[in-house]
Amino acid sequence: MATRPETRREKMRLMLLLSPSIFWLTVFFLMPLILVFAISFGQRGTYGGVEWVLSLRSYARFIDSLYLRIFARTMGIALATTIICLIIGYPLAYFIATRPPQWRNALVLLLMIPFWTNFLVRTYAWLFILRDQGLVNMVWTGPVHHAVVRAAEVLPLSLLGSLADATEAPLGLFGTNGAIIIGLVYGWLPDMVLPCYASIERLDFSLVEAAQDLYANRLRSFLRVIVPLTLPGIVAGSVLVFIPSLGAYVTPDLLGGAKSVMIGNVIYSQFMSARDYPFGSAVSFVLMAVMLVGTLIYFRTGRE
């Protein structure tokens, strides 16, 4: 129960508790934030660095169709990732929540291990699998190819023939948007499952049973009762997946073969290659603004 501090001692204690964090966040978070905002209105010096001349050039450049296109693509990929994570993750969370308690603990434990394994390692796993010399293609051009060829000898169907041709060369999985999405889904799936699980686990299952008595259809009871009740978990999970996916840098870099550019890569190259700080700041700021607005909207509707 939160109360206003009354005595002087209480006020001082409140100050003591708040100060270190407020100080740290002000100096090392708010100030940098303001700095980025300020720099986005500057201009790039000839060799990088910032010239403090007021200009909207960076934002104007962002409105350029090239960057809007990249942003749209990034949004698309992040959205796809979130939806897929939801489709895979929510039922998974439901599965865990409906197991007997001893099983549940073990299952959550099993979930934590990938969650706490280094993100780079988990992304690398898919690089290893999807590469042209990776597992998928080894199987595709190996056993699968042999099987199809053998089958084609027995049954000379044109379908089998073209399949045999197709399985001779590796599937170009690496460097595609699909590869990036797989990598992102794999990396952020636990972030979807855990909040959903937390929500579902708190469900009063007698409500669920009551719902099932009301609705003949289990699907309908699910949609009308369970989903709304677990909405906070769904919202939290979606936010936890969408945001990092939107700002993804490592995954498109490793799995996209440096061919696909997401907004995170653009920001990275502005700071590490082009050294155009004002432009990089502008893009960064737009990204943050979009996310902030999106999160606020999502939370508002979630509460309703």
Partner: protein, 359 residues
């Protein structure tokens, strides 16, 4: 008599002691080496035992961090990553860094081994008189390839850019993930200079790269040579030494300098102005110019050494390979990368457009 002699004698003694102390202090500061030296280098760019050798001889531990391309090096330095003592920028980057005042002047007195260098390299256009840097290794950019996949040597940019030819190798070749190199290759194929600042020419290069993108496996500047050997690709836009390193073990892999001409580049050892271990750094640089050390680096990286005295220690294979030490007529067709000044943002923008295209 005694006192008459004693006083000046004592005075002399005191003065002599003070002088000796001062000399010792001064000399001590001079020859006192730091415990640790931070080197910021390209990856796999130094002979395997070289750092250990230096540590044993001088008692200085070398800590190496790596960067992926010149722009990243510059970005980190500009961002205030102080504490690097030796850096290894390429030619045009040295030019940029000098203009930005990021480099410290070298004291040639601490670098006696500098006379081991080949006179051709002692007065580079980007750093006349080697005031700031000393050349380290030099090489070319061209096409690494897998012999088995080709009837004749792919010694032309046509193999990478011509629609009819490149499409045959769709998804099986890489381009360097380096803005100047990639744009440079495109410019060379179109017959322009690698250092063009003409917006029209740059736009053409960009369009060519965009068209090429559908056949490119990936943009890779780190391990394309391994991809070649692992049969993931059959052609790679490469730096010479990387390909030769792999060719040592895999005889199907070789390297060709395109007939239209390519890039000749030299990487240099420099000391950032922000370093506070300049003397130790100079000792290190001097060590690197020792004939046996320079040869060790060359033998490991398969790049050419600008160190003349090292020739007697460098393996025959390297010395006689025309792709590493090109004959004069080939050298004439090679171009050095230079700073493009104001056009640099244009290059970057074009490159971003290439990266963003198509998907």
């Amino acid at each position: 008599m005694k006192r008459f002699v004693q006083q000046p004698l004592i005075l002399c003694l005191i003065l002599a002691t003070l002088a000796a102390l001062a000399a010792a202090c001064g000399a001590g500061q001079q020859s006192e080496l730091a415990d640790e030296l931070h080197v910021y280098n390209w990856s796999e760019y130094v002979g395997p035992e070289v750092y250990e050798m230096f540590e044993e001889e001088f008692g200085v531990r070398v800590v190496e961090d790596t960067f992926a391309n010149n722009e990243e090096l510059l970005a980190k330095l500009q961002a205030g990553a102080a504490g690097y003592d030796v850096i290894v920028p390429s030619d045009y980057m040295v030019d940029i860094m000098i203009q930005q005042g990021l480099l410290a002047e070298l004291d040639h007195d601490s670098l006696p081994n500098i006379e081991n260098l080949d006179p051709t390299f002692t007065d580079p256009p980007y750093d006349p008189g080697m005031v700031y840097c000393v050349p380290y290794l030099w090489g070319t950019t061209g096409i690494g390839y897998n012999d088995d996949a080709f009837d004749e040597e792919p010694d032309s940019w046509t193999y990478l850019f011509d629609a009819a030819v490149a499409s045959q190798y769709g998804g099986r070749f890489t381009m360097l993930n380096d803005v100047r190199e990639a744009m440079g290759a495109a410019l060379k194929y179109l017959g322009y200079s690698l250092n063009s600042t003409d917006e029209q020419e740059l736009a053409e290069a960009r369009d060519l790269l965009i068209e090429q993108k559908q056949w490119v496996h990936s943009y890779n500047a780190e391990n394309y040579e391994d991809l070649l050997s692992a049969d993931e690709i059959v052609m790679a836009h490469s730096w010479s030494g990387d390909v030769f390193m792999v060719a040592e073990e895999d005889e199907r892999i070789w390297y060709a300098i395109p007939q239209e001409g390519g890039v000749i580049w030299a990487d240099n050892l420099c000391i950032p102005d922000s370093s506070n271990k300049k003397h130790t750094a100079e000792v290190f640089i001097n060590f690197m110019m020792r004939p046996d050390v320079a040869a060790a680096n060359s033998n490991y990286t398969w790049y050419a050494s600008p160190n003349q005295a090292a020739t007697e220690f460098i393996s025959e294979e390297i010395l006689e390979e025309p792709a590493i030490y090109p004959p004069d007529d080939v050298m004439d067709r090679l171009e050095w990368l230079e700073d493009v000044g104001e056009a640099a943002p244009t290059y970057e923008r074009m490159w971003t457009e290439v990266k963003a295209a198509g998907s």
